[in-house]
Subunit: 304 residues, 2 copies
């Protein structure tokens, strides 16, 4: 199943000509999960290859305007385009109140269901094929990091062993691969006899706005992608601390220690017309660092 | 004084790749008045030549999302950029409640003053150099049209007459032009002796979302610019009626009967990738019709 990260808004605080405010889409098969939804996200979606009608769930990291003010417009536009499916929204405490406020702005009455679920630190919600986990991070208001972790995949199929056991190539192979027990010559063959150890699914972690946080190292352990707050260059480390953010260098340290595959630096301060210096200081510590542009997308491939 | 209309969002209902939702700026000297503020307006302003810090007053026509959902983000960004001056917001009844809702979304506390004033039909508010008038129009929710009318200008200076009366060219001319009485050779000269009849200032009318309305003909009488709802082509006149909008043709009829100088067709439905047919049907009735693109600006010159 294809898994892709599409950066819809990579700027922090307020939009600039180059970067809109926070929004990250994760497309997994036919489903789109949206992480944060700053003002203008519905239009960013329209300018991308995505369709907002495919969004099933929205996860908000925290309630600073640049992370959620795109919700009312998106919700209303979904309705104007005849959405009937429920929309599930998740976020830290305060979400139910926020959504009820949002739904009562101006003349608007939702005709489809909007389900708001408040999450705490260390939550784990199982969906079809993946789990979303939360971690309370270190910002100036309650903020959650999210981890999307796919279910384990079946182990590698040992073809030689299967042939040794007298199983003919064909439909029986496929049954075993799908985890079903088969019978051949009156003998039961269970999948674990043929398949190697289960293999982990893919993992994407989104830090939300946060100061560098020890717990994130474990939370992001071995992730295929870590999307981390990198609002400032390390020259402005004090400012970063004051406002509850990280520098690009600090994000790279977390990525390195967490042994992630790739680091995406985001929530870039509007002061940086050129984000190269942030990317460069991150790469000194962690080579596979990138500051994505709005609309850039990255496929997360299954490890062999 | 320069007077300019800058179209920041010319689309209706929801944003498209080409057109953002409603927002029109009028720049008069160093002051910017904003009419409607759909989602993403702050970014449209950044992409234009305007500065949102110059916005002194915002007029909202009605409380459908595509006309006001850019307010919370704009208000917050003004604060992040250290606004200290009060911001004056005007709109139909319900504004005070709306603004108090907007100011309590998420973690935000305004540090500058936001003054919300509710307006009725037929209001007239005098500002320095111009008056804003309102007209209740015919939409599905309470909606106001706005008219910006500059103060009358002094009449034309009759140079010959001035010289005849023995006034030497120079500072005394300028005093008379500014409406001051002067004395020359012990004789009082009042401005009305030298100046022709007062000349009207410029007038710009914004219809808001509305079905074609008889009263708008008078309201927009002799305006230099009428910015009118033209959501649909006349092929969809029934749809326009149902949703409380006008067709391009109907807007042109109003413009013609009101004897305006120029007609700007706006609030174009997202269904029209190409707005040429709307412009064409308007021009058949009223030649000086245009469907502006986002970011197009038009100077409104003083009549000689």
């Amino acid at each position: 199943m294809q898994l892709e990260i599409i950066f819809l808004g990579t700027g922090g605080s307020w939009p600039t000509v180059k970067r809109n405010v926070s929004a990250i889409a994760i497309k997994r098969g036919g489903e789109i999960l949206l992480f944060d939804c700053g003002e203008g996200t519905q239009r960013q979606i329209q300018k991308s290859k995505l369709s907002y009608m495919q969004i099933s769930k929205i996860f908000i990291t925290h309630y600073h305007g640049d992370h959620f003010l795109g919700l009312p417009g998106l919700i209303q536009t979904m309705q104007l385009n005849d959405r009937e499916k429920p929309l599930y929204i998740y976020g830290p405490r305060g979400l139910r109140n926020l959504i009820s406020q949002i739904l009562s702005l101006g003349y608007f009455t939702p005709t489809y269901e909007i389900v708001a679920t408040e999450l705490n630190d260390n939550c784990s919600i199982k969906f079809d094929g993946y789990t979303i986990k939360t971690l309370k991070v270190d910002h100036n208001v309650p903020t959650l990091a999210y981890s999307l972790e796919e279910d384990e995949r079946p182990g590698r199929f040992n073809k030689e062993k299967a042939l040794e056991l007298g199983i003919p190539e064909g439909p029986l192979f496929s049954k075993l691969q799908k985890g079903k027990t088969i019978e051949i010559n009156g003998k039961k063959i269970t999948p674990d006899m043929i398949l190697g150890p289960k293999r982990p699914g893919r993992k994407i972690v989104i830090s939300g706005d946060t100061r560098p946080l020890e717990k994130l190292v474990d939370f992001a352990k071995n992730a295929d992608a870590l999307i981390h707050d990198a609002t400032f260059h390390s020259e402005l480390e004090e400012t970063a601390v004051e406002y509850g953010h990280s520098t690009a260098k600090q994000a790279a340290e977390i990525a390195k220690r967490a042994n992630v595959e790739r680091l995406f630096l985001t929530h870039i301060s509007p002061r940086y017309m050129d984000s190269k210096p942030l990317e460069e200081e991150a790469r000194e510590l962690f080579a596979n660092s990138i500051v994505p542009k709005d609309f850039q997308s990255f496929e997360i491939r299954l490890k062999k």
